[in-house]
Symmetry: C2
Subunit: 281 residues, 2 copies
DNA sequence: CGATCATTGTGCAAAATCTCACAAGACAGT
DNA sequence: ACTGTCTTGTGAGATTTTGCACAATGATCG
């Protein structure tokens, strides 16, 4: 009989691509992963990986096995979700994945309300651009700016926000519009509505700073580097930023609340979901 | 993250119903199962079993989790089959499940031929009435007398055999037909063709011995207890048994060779399957 | 070209896990 | 009522597994 733990370690290796990455994911030492993979190979007497000097590469057999095993991982996560959903108590740690700006400005400041109402619930707020996988239980709830297509996930539109064009008050006073400089995301965000909106407004005028991080954009704008497209929930509450009118129709984005179907009914998850709705209203 | 080994132990407990049985199945001590189940409960902070004085009973949550996990076991076996099928060598242990009579009389005597042709293949011959589960890898190949319906299994009819009515030569000589006594299976086999055939022949005459085991029937017949319906491959080769004609059309049964779809192409399995076909021809 | 970073491999001590032996209790058959 | 069998529970020793520190090697970047 196959040792399930060996299989788990091997599947992590197959997914992550290296011993070290798999070990990090599993929270063990890389040596352990190496040993368990070796043990699995021995137990089924089949070579699953090619041990190249600097990397582990799956053999053909290894890929086949990993492909089948992937379904096992799926089910393991389903078990985990079922366990979580079965808890009737309003406690435990609930993790929320959200874009950093939403997390910092709209959610974090109001967290105390949630703590007061549900003292048993611990919140883990993950502000990251990369969309966390709810299926892998990297987060229980997620806020995203577009509707995900993945099956098994429930998405509900819980709000929207507009972008505005902002500059530092002094900058706007001293600079003639034809000389405006602009601050934008880098090329990886070129297909987002707010980026297109900004580049259209900029026209032939220069984009002098590109940064992935919205907070960086805001900071640069405050410092008088130029004009940036910022969410109004960020810009309107900051006196060091001033919104300037444009003739373009303002762009807005929807905010979706995502929860895995299996977790939808868990009381703690419902409570936090309700809180997030309030935050976005 | 859930420990897959814990889950495995819990699922074994859920399926077997007791610590000891699960431990036997897994090849570990019962204490280990108890500890791992407790560890799983602790890690998801959910009560999965009720520890009654003499038994472990699944809670509702435990049943839910076990139901989901069953699919995980399925997949684990699929991995095992894939591993086995991937081996290109003609070696390893192949287990065959077959009705005891077939195993003893038609297969076992010819096993040396197989050993000579494929010295690397070790055979495990399981002669049992209970049909082994090929999906759970209790056997690699199975011979059965009817076509199974379970999905994932490949069935091929590889032969058939007739039943005859046998008695000891002296018994047939000394006993007038109206006084014949009969030997049959017990009531659990009443719906098999050979049993119905025998009871029709017996008519109002007495059935003096009922036994599940065909070898017992044969032994009793040789000893002059009465007449039994025996496969001709058994009766015709035994000089202590004599077949007597009946006016009824003789009954015959088909022999099916069953193999799991995933294992069909494994060389060692193919080799043994071919051997079994030869045995039945 | 050199420095830094990330990868895998090895030996040993520490920690966790398992098994074993025994105990206590329930149930069945005699 | 009594043995025999099958449960689960407890504690201690032995085995296995793991983690750590270090080494070696290749890749990347300035």
């Amino acid at each position: 009989m196959i040792d399930w733990s060996d299989l788990h370690h091997f599947l992590a290796l197959a997914r992550e691509g290296s011993l070290s990455a798999a070990a990090r994911g599993l929270g063990v030492d890389h040596v352990t992963v190496a040993r368990r993979v070796a043990a699995l190979e021995a137990s089924i007497s089949l070579k699953l990986v090619d041990r190249r000097p600097r990397s582990y590469a799956l053999t053909e057999d290894g890929q086949r096995i990993a492909a089948i095993g992937a379904q096992m991982e799926e089910t393991a996560f389903a078990v985990e979700r079922a366990a979580r959903a079965a808890k009737p108590e309003l406690d435990g740690e609930i993790s929320i994945s959200a874009p950093p700006s939403l997390a910092n400005i709209l959610i974090a400041p109001k967290l105390m309300q949630l703590r007061r109402r549900y003292p048993g619930i611990l919140i883990k707020l993950i502000g990251e651009k990369r969309t966390a996988s709810l299926s892998r239980r990297e987060a229980d709830l997620a806020l995203r700016l577009s509707r995900p297509t993945q099956p098994g996930l429930i998405a509900r539109k819980i709000g929207h926000f507009e972008f505005g064009l902002y500059g530092a008050p002094s900058y706007l006073k001293e600079t003639p519009p034809y000389a405006f400089a602009f601050i934008a995301y880098d090329a990886s965000m070129d297909d987002t509505p707010q980026q297109q909106w900004l580049t259209e407004i900029a026209g032939t005028r220069q984009i002098v700073l590109r940064t992935n991080d919205l907070e960086n954009q805001a900071a640069a704008t405050r410092a008088g580097v130029g004009l940036a497209a910022l969410p109004r929930f960020l810009g309107d509450t900051d006196r060091r930023l001033e919104r300037c009118d444009t003739d373009r129709k303002p762009v807005s984005r929807e905010v979706w609340l995502i929860v895995h179907n299996d977790l939808r009914r868990a009381p703690a998850v419902r409570a936090v979901a309700g809180f997030l709705e309030d935050c976005l209203r």
